[in-house]
């Protein structure tokens, strides 16, 4: 399985930046697993968190090509450092009177929240690292997954590891 790297980029919140970055990735053939972007404490600056697949030489190009984009202020490969990584998923799973209790138990184990319920299905909200998300998908798949919506990973370096 190819290596995955998590890259955090601070970008100027200008019209077209997301497009330019996405276009850069596709034109250079980089493999995006997920891309999440949102404002930071400074509304003129957004943070993009990108999970990229590829070996070290690919990663080196990804970081440098991103950095070269005029609106990209700073690029950090946080896979190397200690970092906090989270993703939010909404998952709609088939549930009826025979299966509902077990599904609720599974949700409790994963500290997930039930956010919607109806006679035939249940929607669960779960946050966590990538492996936790994968694990709950695995546990729920036998019940029949109807829909999934994921935000993609966001991440920040741990200051505690530096200090």
């Amino acid at each position: 399985m190819a290596q995955k790297h998590t890259i955090s980029a601070l970008v100027e919140n200008h019209f077209g930046v997301l497009c330019r970055v996405a276009g850069l990735f596709s034109s250079r053939g980089f493999n995006i697993d997920s891309l999440s972007v949102g404002e930071t404490e400074d509304p003129s600056i957004s943070r993009m968190t990108i999970v990229v697949g590829g070996d070290d030489s690919v990663l080196e190009q990804v970081v440098k090509q991103l950095d070269r984009v005029i609106d990209v202020i700073r690029v950090i490969d946080i896979t190397q450092g200690a970092f906090v990584e989270r993703e939010l998923m909404l998952i709609k799973v088939k549930a009826d009177t025979t299966t509902r209790a077990e599904i609720i138990q599974i949700a409790e184990v994963f500290r997930a929240h039930i956010v919607d319920v109806c006679p035939r299905s249940m929607t669960i909200e779960v946050t966590g690292k990538n492996d936790k998300i994968q694990a709950i998908i695995g546990m729920l798949s036998s019940f029949g997954i109807e829909e999934i919506a994921r935000t993609g990973t966001v991440a920040l370096l741990r200051d505690s590891a530096v200090q």
Partner: protein, 565 residues
């Protein structure tokens, strides 16, 4: 004084030292043209196709070192610039393009002549702008020029909606500074990187310098010569690096790669150190990467960090402006002689006469190029298109000065020669400028002969006319079983009559003995002249290293053997 957006653009261009704009107006950009007509210091040269505007700005920039400027209208006017933008992007040429856009309220509604040009040009510009407020115009222009000309130069496009050009008026304020937190072009190199590089140079026994476009961009040709002479290192120039060192200099070993001189590629193959200066190890230079310079360590000096380890792993990367980097490096390099190595390279030159032109009854294109070189004493500016003629122009002209070969290398855009030559001549009116075309490329952009006539731009146009799409035909001959499908041009016009239709002197040459006279006549005739050299149809460019191969699979001119003693 309050000004419209269009007037602010004009004022801003003046502040950036612009004196020439190549362009073609249209509806969305008309307010800019309305303002422009009141600014006589901004000379506007009206072209016949927007592609010519972009390529003329490119030729102007390469010839002068200044930022070239072009303008077009929205929609198809803007999209016609794209090939020219790509050419500038691939060869790191600074140009700024101003395009009109439909009014803001119409954007996104499929308006007449509307297109998302900023979206379309994302991959072919260093940066671009869609200016939605008249207050953002001056800062955008100041930033655009700064971005275009600094670091690794490149094209910048500024798209301005019509109602921003001709709407609200404001006071013109020229910003004191640019604010680009994400852009920090390198200057001085890191001292440690320089030390590592110097150490490698001092240890090397068979070094070569690979000089690329960066030497010309950074105006570092004196430093190049100083380094080469101090340590007696042969200098090999890429296509875009030609002119960085005079072809007459004893250390100049010519051009490497797919159609480079055999001795240059062989020297790299046998070297133990390649000092790449402002070159990017393009596939036309390297051939199969795993067989490129197998015994050599690599020093890579470049202003763009993305080039390090992109194609070739650098043992000693040096990030910085090339001129600054060489100035830091030269004092740390010991004077050296490499006598055995120099002798070996001399033997390579003797054993591989790559510039040999054989005798022929039919006029050979190589002969034409050599004659143009002789008649201009190697001092003209040569602007080429793309194809076989381009390679012969790179090989057989004796370039003496920097920025004397202007050619579309990375992009390989046919038809580059006619408009780029216009730009070069406008930028350097004191030089003789020859546009060298194939009959294929010439037909793509010949409409701008009218621009030369209208503006009295004295370019001499040579067509190496073999009635075919020559380079493609050569590939079909070598690699596709001589299936000359779609490469024979049997419907070519009479180029002399075509020239005369534009009011230009046209000369046809079919015999070797008439070549010199035709060239002289062209240069003595005031104004643009077209010379149609009817050359041998199925001539091949040699040497050739087929795509994806290495120097070991190089094909050389068969008859060259006969002159090796």
């Amino acid at each position: 004084m309050e000004m419209t957006g269009a007037e602010i653009i004009c004022e801003s261009l003046l502040r950036e030292g612009v004196d020439t704009i190549f362009g073609l107006p249209g509806g969305a950009v008309l307010p800019f043209y309305g303002a422009l007509s009141g600014y006589p210091k901004l000379r506007h040269i009206l072209v016949r196709h927007e592609q010519a505007a972009a390529m003329a700005a490119d030729g102007y920039a390469r010839a002068t070192g200044k930022v070239g400027v072009c303008s077009a209208t929205s929609g198809p006017g803007a999209t016609n610039l794209v090939t020219g933008l790509m050419a500038a992007q691939m060869d790191s040429v600074p140009i700024v393009c101003i395009t009109g856009q439909v009014p803001r309220a119409a954007i996104g509604r499929d308006a007449f002549q509307e297109t998302d040009i900023t979206g379309i040009t994302l991959p072919v510009t260093k940066h671009n702008y869609l200016v939605m407020d008249v207050r953002d115009i001056a800062p955008a222009i100041k930033e655009a020029f700064y971005i275009a000309r600094t670091g690794r130069p490149g094209p910048v496009l500024i798209d301005v909606p019509k109602d921003v050009l001709a709407g609200e008026k404001i006071e013109f304020e020229w910003p004191a500074e640019v604010d680009l937190p994400g852009y920090n072009p390198p200057g001085e190199p890191d001292a440690r990187q320089v030390r590592v590089a110097a150490h490698l140079i001092n240890q090397a026994e068979r070094p070569v310098i690979l000089a690329g476009h960066g030497v010309l961009i950074s105006r570092a040709w004196d430093e190049l010569r100083e380094l080469a002479e101090k340590a007696q290192i042969p200098v090999i120039t890429t296509l875009l690096g030609i002119g960085a060192m005079s072809t007459e200099h004893v250390l100049n070993m010519g051009m490497p790669g797919m159609h480079g001189m055999a001795y240059a590629s062989l020297a790299i193959d046998r070297s133990d150190l390649v000092i790449a200066l402002g070159a990017r190890f393009d596939d036309r230079v390297t051939g199969r990467l795993s067989d490129f310079a197998p015994g050599a360590k690599i020093i890579h000096v470049d202003v763009d960090a993305t080039e390090f380890n992109k194609n070739i792993v650098a043992d000693a990367p040096v990030l910085g402006d090339l001129k600054d980097s060489l100035r830091a490096l030269i004092p740390m390099v010991q004077p050296n002689v490499h006598l055995d190595w120099i002798k070996e390279t001399d033997t390579l030159r003797a054993e591989h006469p790559s510039l040999f032109i054989r005798k022929s009854d039919v006029l050979l294109p190589q002969q034409v190029m050599k004659q143009i070189s002789d008649e201009t004493n190697g001092e003209a500016i040569i602007v080429t298109g793309v194809g076989q003629h381009q390679m012969w122009a790179a090989q057989h002209y004796g370039y003496k000065e920097p920025n004397s070969l202007i050619t579309s290398g990375g992009s390989g855009a046919m038809g580059f020669e006619v408009p780029a030559a216009l730009g070069a001549k406008v930028g350097r009116p004191e030089k003789t400028v020859w546009s060298i075309a194939g009959d294929g490329g010439f037909q793509m952009t010949l409409c701008d002969l009218a621009t030369a006539v209208e503006n009295k731009i004295d370019v001499k146009y040579a067509i190496l006319n073999n009635g075919s799409l020559g380079m493609v035909r050569q590939w079909q001959d070598f690699f596709y079983d001589k299936d000359f499908f779609a490469t024979i041009y049997s419907g070519n016009p009479d180029f002399v009559k075509l020239a005369e239709a534009y009011g230009i002197r046209g000369i046809r040459v079919t015999k070797q003995e008439d070549v010199a006279g035709a060239i002289q006549e062209a240069m003595e005739t005031p104004g643009p002249v077209v010379v149609d050299f009817v050359v041998k149809e199925d001539e091949f460019v040699y040497p050739m290293i087929p795509a994806g191969e290495s120097v070991h699979e190089m094909l050389e001119e068969p008859e060259a053997e006969s002159i090796i003693s």
